[in-house]
């Protein structure tokens, strides 16, 4: 009886995952290659697709390092220092996780667009790459902070204090003591940031203006291809994104904080 219950539970959990996860992903690969490898390859090597990939990679190349550096500084500030409004900062850092990307996009549109407070900048923000980068930075902001904060709490300050008594400066202490302790958490946070930056759709679709071959990222390209009934193109670009996602997944499994793995 007990064994039966265990198998039933196992079956229930696994079939839920199968129907919701494995089946759809398998299918998208099949659809992309249904006419063979050639058409799929042609679809992702059109000038528009190549440019979309480039845009996506460029956004990630700026947003991920920016968020990594900011994330580490912010985590140290929140854990190691006391300042007024600390709790507020804590809550705000989490906000992008709960906020609709469309709302984020609209906020940027209203700030930098026509009639916005920062309209008169010397370069275009809205409907151009800087806006897409800013929106991506906004939505992928929390990940590094959230991974680093618990680790910083856990390691305590003893080693840092020891380093300071032995005459290490602030930077030296960070480089020799703090950073080695948090580097796995940072790596995991970077992987999560990367996944979000590569896959961002809602916020980017509002601020980019979707100019094909100019401000179209790979996720926007998927939708645009689908809406123009080029299904092979949409599926092929999706497979490209799915492969990036699977690579991310592998990296996540490698870097996942140790207490969660067994």
């Amino acid at each position: 009886m007990k064994r039966l219950g265990r198998y039933a539970l196992r079956l229930l959990g696994l079939s839920y995952l199968f129907v919701l996860l494995a089946l759809p992903i398998g299918l998208i690969f099949r659809r992309a290659f249904q006419d063979g490898f050639g058409p799929a390859w042609d679809a992702v090597t059109t000038p528009a697709a190549k440019h979309a990939l480039l845009v996506t990679l460029m956004i990630a190349a700026i947003a991920v390092p920016a968020n990594t550096i900011f994330g580490i500084i912010c985590a140290i500030a929140v854990v190691r220092h006391r300042f007024p409004g600390k709790n507020l900062v804590n809550a705000i850092v989490d906000l992008p996780l709960a906020l609709s990307p469309i709302v984020v996009g609209l906020a940027f549109l209203l700030l930098f667009g026509t009639g916005g407070w920062l309209e008169g900048l010397p370069f275009d923000v809205v409907f151009a790459l800087p806006g897409m980068v800013l929106a991506t930075i906004f939505v992928s902001l929390p990940f590094v902070v959230r991974e680093v904060v618990p680790v910083l709490r856990e390691i305590g300050t003893e080693q840092e204090q020891a380093a300071a008594t032995l005459g290490a400066g602030g930077w030296q202490t960070f480089r020799r003591v703090t950073f080695p302790a948090i580097r796995w958490a940072v790596a995991y946070g970077v992987v999560l940031t990367m996944a979000r930056a590569l896959g961002e759709f809602g916020a980017v679709s509002v601020v980019s203006g979707r100019v094909i071959g100019k401000t179209e990222s790979l996720t926007l390209h998927v939708e645009e291809r689908y809406q123009s009934f080029d299904y092979v193109g949409a599926y092929a670009a999706s497979v490209l994104l799915a492969m990036l996602a699977i690579a991310t997944l592998v990296a996540m499994t490698v870097f996942r904080p140790r207490e969660q793995t067994r």
Partner: protein
Amino acid sequence: MLLPLAALVWHAAGGGLDQFRAAVTDEQGVAALKLTLGASILVALVNAVMGTVVAWILVRDRFPGQSLVNAVVDLPFALPTIVAGLTLLTLYGPSSPLHVDVAFKRTAVLVALLFVTLPFVIRTVQPVLLELDREMEEAAASLGARPTQVFRLIILPNLLPAILSGTALAFARAIGEFGALVLITGNLPFKTEVASVYIFGRIESGESQNAAAVSVVLLAISLLALLLIGALRHRVTRHEAAR
């Protein structure tokens, strides 16, 4: 970070209170907000149950391929939402190989939201379940408690804060979801149009003030969900400190 949000609130309030009220009481917008809230609550509840089941089999059960399953659970975090939407449309849409067609129906909203919120409860419950001391359960069992009693009286109270916090995260995520929904729901006003899609429509048609007003409502709901999570986390950590 705050500047764009301030601009948003400013813009929403720009036309005075009456205009704000007119914008958020627009029938189509109210329908979208209602659908979003209802679907998110339902999805959060399903997640609370199924997420706990999955976390349980990942921690307490042993079966071949377990570590692979464990890794695959994170897929909705890694997969771009638009790809998730396209995938679901392929599988559960008009050309479904399973002959399950939910596209452009309200069920589609649920399916898409279930997909993107899948990992939250699992990933919050899993570590707590791993830490949970089995001695308590064994003691209860040796004192004659039936398995259901052990679960109800020992395991569930210990897991509850984690389940609730995961559920709240899933709810918050469901409220704002956009990418996974645009393709499969067809965005029919009054039927399958969620708040994010409604806002997007208003932006596209140049009604930025209406868009900003509904955005402020969504923002408020998100903030509430976050505060709830914060309070729950506070309870969990206090619980740990007391042990």
